[in-house]
């Protein structure tokens, strides 16, 4: 049986694809400590390692040995996760994934607890530390649930079997007669029991498994798949949880980067005399990098302002010309096929702007040098990627660098890169002391990367009975994910066109899928109306996939779709879709008054295979839906000539309490299917359903995000 490989989308999950902008390559070299060093660190007890194996490798070598070290053993970069049960009974799981609010610290503990038949509270997770945890490509693309959770089920199940073997020996009893309960193995015949710790005492047992371990089927889950509150919630509500920006090292200074006046600028001249004279202030200049560090964070504004820097920047485009720019710079224009089919034809263009992740915690890093060893604490979704960036920036081998990810004030795909870590390390190097750098909100709005903007041209045709006869879909710049229509269309054309992006762009929660769903589901509505059909019936007419039909039926039924309007300005809109292993459908009720849109109610149905934790899943869906309201109604990055024009929360509107509609989530649980992640897909539902409801309310078709009516 093939195992999962963290680096590639899992082929067994239908429709699974990594977003175009998400990095998916392992570094060419990875100089991590030898596996024996790790095991020494762990001490006595029982260790289970999960070897990664692609199907091809398994056939080639019969084991995980190809990249392995001496004796055909896998080295740490071939290990997906490991679990340690110490003599004290402490159960520790090591994974390179990180917690950013998506709650995997809890859901992964549940997976392990399930297999060990113990309480999740007994399980410690060590996450995202390049010295202690296995290599991981990054917490990206909603891959944790489909890939890491099954791996941990296997590792923990193997540990359980080893413990049962040990107990059978000690009790001189048949394995099958023994039972597990909360950290113990009991022999019901004698009433004797031994804790996991007692069983491992005085031994050091290591097993490397691949994928053969017998895991508990989802239908029998007692811990996984059930509601459980966040394991670290108490430390958060008491203010004790230390995020990166809260860390403090002895002698630590506070840093600030003096930013260029525009993107792509180079430093023309620099005068630091005034800043250098401020007590306790250090200025740092290296090429185009200019920064200050001082012993009091309250002095940073003054210190940075005292640095006089002149920058030279080329002329650059602006947000008003963005969409023309994207289309005119495309490598290859759309090749439209003649379309004589169908009774009705609709052509339209949809546009999405750049938007900003705006995590509430702006990027932060604390860097500390000890000789030529560098340790950086930073909130990133890719600790190993950041380690590589640091190694390149400072010309160091990776084994001299340790990256640790503390709790992080979220990322939504925005914290994949390591610029803040590199900047902090540069300041710390000059200072000869540890330095904490917390980006200002303006830094975060300007120097992070954005969700790609895009232009999407669509042409569709349908017969009078509602059957879609042709579909051509061309996306410029926003990406490939969910670009193909999930409806039953015989000869659809869906193409992505790379072009020149005026701003730096990157991953975002459901980035391309949001744009593609907005265009497709708006166009479905336009086509339905042209064919004189009711939008839900039109979608069902063209939906052959039973999972797609199931979510449409679940959402429309709960919403009571088809009822008559009861108020002036009221509008109903719907959508359906599929991305990253999850099926979604949403129905929205809103009110348009004096050109203002108020979303009153959202019913969203969601199906992502077997549900791991329904309560947390609903929280994730509601969170994604609320974030989607921002992209649908308010958010757009405005820029001109290399500058961001709205880099503050007072100018860039994100959803607040007053925007909160009634949200009703209908979960469709499919215990027979593998679980997929839910951090991203729900966000795609909002914009198209809102656009369709605005049309229903006003007769105006808005094709550009954010959706704005002229008053």
């Amino acid at each position: 049986m093939p195992d999962f490989d963290l680096t590639l989308p899992d082929p067994t999950i239908p429709g699974f694809e990594v977003d175009r902008y998400e990095l998916r390559e392992r570094p060419a070299y990875s100089f991590v400590p030898d596996r024996r060093d790790f095991l020494k660190l762990l001490g006595g007890g029982l260790v289970v390692l999960l070897a990664l194996q692609s199907p091809a490798e398994a056939q080639e070598s019969g084991g995980g040995a190809r990249r392995g070290g001496p004796g055909g053993q896998a080295t740490p970069q071939d290990i997906g996760a490991w679990l340690h049960i110490a003599e004290s009974g402490l159960i520790t799981v090591y994974t390179g994934k990180v917690e950013m609010g998506q709650n995997i610290r809890t859901s992964l503990a549940q997976a392990v607890a399930e297999e060990l038949r113990t309480s999740p509270g007994r399980i410690e997770l060590v996450m995202g530390d390049t010295m202690l945890t296995p290599f991981d490509i990054g917490t990206v693309g909603s891959m944790t649930t489909p890939i890491m959770a099954p791996q941990l089920h296997k590792v923990a199940a193997a540990a359980r079997e080893m413990l049962l073997d040990l107990a059978a020996q000690q009790f001189q009893a048949g394995r099958a007669t023994l039972t597990l309960a909360d950290g113990q193995i009991v022999n019901p015949a004698t009433g004797k029991s031994l804790t996991f710790g007692e069983l491992t005492k005085g031994r050091k047992l290591t097993r490397t498994i691949t994928a053969d371990a017998q895991v508990t089927p989802a239908t029998e889950w007692k811990i996984a798949g059930h509601d459980l509150h966040k394991v670290n919630a108490r430390s958060i509500v008491t203010g004790k949880e230390r995020y990166t920006s809260d860390l403090k090292l002895p002698g630590m200074l506070y840093g600030r980067v003096v930013r260029p006046a525009a993107f792509n600028a180079t430093l023309a001249s620099l005068e630091t005399k005034q800043a250098d004279q401020l007590p306790g202030v250090l200025t740092v200049h290296d090429g185009n990098f200019v920064g200050v560090a001082c012993d009091d964070s309250a002095k940073l504004d003054q210190a940075a302002a005292a640095v006089k820097a002149d920058w030279k920047a080329p002329a650059q485009t602006n947000s008003r010309e963005l969409f023309a720019h994207l289309k005119s710079r495309a490598a290859k224009a759309a090749d439209w096929q003649p379309d004589p089919s169908g009774d009705v034809h609709v052509e339209a263009t949809y546009q999405v702007p750049y938007i900003a992740h705006t995590p509430l915690e702006p990027r932060a890093a604390v860097a500390n040098w000890e000789g030529d060893h560098l340790t950086v604490w930073t909130g990133t979704q890719r600790p190993f990627g950041v380690r590589t960036e640091l190694a390149q920036a400072f010309g160091l081998p990776e084994d001299k660098i340790r990256v640790i990810v503390p709790p992080t004030g979220s990322g939504y795909g925005g914290k994949h890169t390591g610029e803040c870590a590199v900047e902090a390390a540069r300041l710390a190097k000059a200072a000869g002391k540890p330095v904490k750098l917390q980006w200002t909100r303006e830094d975060e709005f300007t120097w992070a990367y954005f969700r790609p903007a895009g232009v999407i041209d669509v042409r569709g045709s349908a017969r009078k009975d509602g059957a879609i006869t042709s579909w051509q879909f061309h996306n410029y710049n926003s990406g490939n994910a969910a670009i193909r229509s999930p409806y039953n269309i015989p000869n659809q054309i869906a193409e992505f066109h790379a072009t020149d992006s005026p701003l730096r762009q990157g991953s975002y929660r459901g980035l391309a899928a949001s744009a593609n769903h907005f265009a497709r589901e708006s166009h479905m509505d336009e086509l339905a109306r042209a064919a004189g059909m009711e939008p839900a019936a039109f979608r069902l007419k063209n939906a052959a996939d039973p999972r797609l039909r199931a979510v449409i039926e679940a959402a429309t039924e709960r919403f009571r779709w088809g009822r008559a309007k009861s108020r002036r300005g009221q509008g109903f809109g719907m959508m359906a879709g599929f991305d990253k292993g999850g099926y979604v459908s949403a129905c929205i009720e809103l009110t348009v008054l004096n050109g203002k849109v108020r979303i009153d109610r959202i019913v969203q149905s969601f199906e992502c295979g077997a549900i791991v934790n329904p309560d947390q899943l609903k929280n994730q869906i509601a969170g994604g839906t609320i974030m989607g309201i921002g992209g649908a109604l308010f958010e757009a990055v405005e820029f001109e000539n290399g500058r961001i024009l709205n880099p503050r929360l007072s100018k860039y509107r994100v959803p607040r309490f007053s925007d909160l509609p009634e949200i009703d989530i209908v979960l469709v649980d499919r215990k027979d299917l593998p679980s997929a992640g839910a951090g991203e897909t729900p966000i795609v539902a909002v914009a198209p359903a809102v656009a369709n409801a605005i049309f229903d309310a006003t007769g105006k078709r808005l094709r550009s995000l954010p959706l704005k009516l002229d008053a």
């Binding site: 966040k230 509500v237 008491t238 004790k240 230390r242 995020y243 995590p359 509430l360 929360l649 309490f657």
Partner: protein, 155 residues
């Protein structure tokens, strides 16, 4: 200059323009209070001054002299969570948790003024606090639960 934080008197560095946020976080190491924007837009830095919520990023330390400053670290008493903290736990009203301290402090302030707020009053009372993870529905629920547990009568 002296500041009284969570019932304890601290003598702090001088400099009247220093924002209270920097003093709390960097000087007193009370890092439960967060920076999110520095312009009064996000509420992550909310603390109580004599029981009323203020944005510590815009409050000069000087303005807090002679007042009772309460931060998230000072809500617990004798190992007992404040009813609002308990309600945030029970309603699981957090995702990344970065906004949570500010949300709790604003909610405590709100319940002091209005011990039994209706849902629209909760929403407008917390309008200045951002949760980018979108945990709003559960936060509203948590404040209602806290109100039922007499959250307004505590600190």
């Amino acid at each position: 200059m002296d500041l009284v934080v969570n019932g304890v008197r601290h003598s702090i560095r001088n400099g009247p323009a220093r924002p209270l946020l920097a003093v709390l976080r960097d000087e007193l190491d009370l890092t439960g209070t967060k920076y999110g924007c520095g312009e009064g837009q996000c509420g992550a830095c909310t603390v109580l001054l004599d029981g009323a919520p203020v944005r510590s990023c815009l409050t000069p330390a000087k303005a807090a002299e002679g007042k009772q400053i309460t931060t998230i670290e000072g809500l617990e008493s004798n190992g007992q969570l404040h009813p609002v903290q308990q309600a945030f736990l029970d309603a699981d009203a957090l995702q990344c948790g970065y906004c949570t301290a500010g949300m709790i402090m604003s909610s405590v302030g709100l319940l002091k003024k209005n011990p039994n707020p209706a849902e629209p009053e909760i929403r407008s009372g917390l309008q200045g606090n951002l949760c980018r993870c979108g945990t709003y529905p559960r936060i509203v629920q948590a404040v209602r639960m806290a109100a039922q547990n007499n959250g307004g009568r505590h600190a």
